[in-house]
Symmetry: C2
Subunit: 128 residues, 2 copies
Amino acid sequence: MDTAWDPYLLACPCRDVLDLVANKWTALMIGKLAQRPHRFGELRREVAGITPKVLTQNLRSLERDGLISRKVYPTTPPSVEYALTPLGESISGYLIALNNWTAANFNEIKRSRAAYDAAQQTAPQPVG
Amino acid sequence: MDTAWDPYLLACPCRDVLDLVANKWTALMIGKLAQRPHRFGELRREVAGITPKVLTQNLRSLERDGLISRKVYPTTPPSVEYALTPLGESISGYLIALNNWTAANFNEIKRSRAAYDAAQQTAPQPVG
DNA sequence: CTGTATCCCGCCTGATACTG
DNA sequence: CAGTATCAGGCGGGATACAG
């Protein structure tokens, strides 16, 4: 790298990159592409719930940032293949780890939320 | 854990947790708290650019999810200390890695964006 | 198959001001 | 010091329909 940036600085441009992760779909998309290259329709099916518009948006954004590559095959019907670039691969591990952490710890979080909400129900009753 | 969830399933409740990361400030806040417990004002200063309202919102959300603890000291003036819970510590490493990756790779991403945008300027000109 | 075009909405975010 | 109240705005995101 050329220079180092501190994301805790207000004007740090790498805040933009953190926003890349601050996205509902990025981690899932990168996770899928880390397994193997995928076509548009495959991603659309495997990343359940994403709409084609949003998929396209995020694909373009990641392509612009150099995390994924887009290759068009002029077949009929046309096919487009998306794959991770080396840069994309360098971050995929962290994102996959996040996905896994999420899956592994959701139940504990669910319990925590329930306990928190229950405490809110009883405690803050000025009129009692 | 009790049961395993697949974040790629549409109805997977752990999507909510992924949204936790899909947040502009979470990674920065967790990163700071991973260093040591912080008071409200400290976080406010050190996470540059965050407003008190948004800081409170995210603090509450993380507390509800069980990632951080909130301890009030009835002093005058009052002081409140936020710290990571064991659950919060278990995810902090991944988030810090993301912060570091961001700082280390921003320049490459910046170059990629510039190249992408330049290509858009020249290529898609039907009228030319 | 691979996207685009609209319309719409809710949430996150931000700025500012105020309180115990 | 540690928040809360309020107002406003923008962008991501969702539903639906359409095109090359």
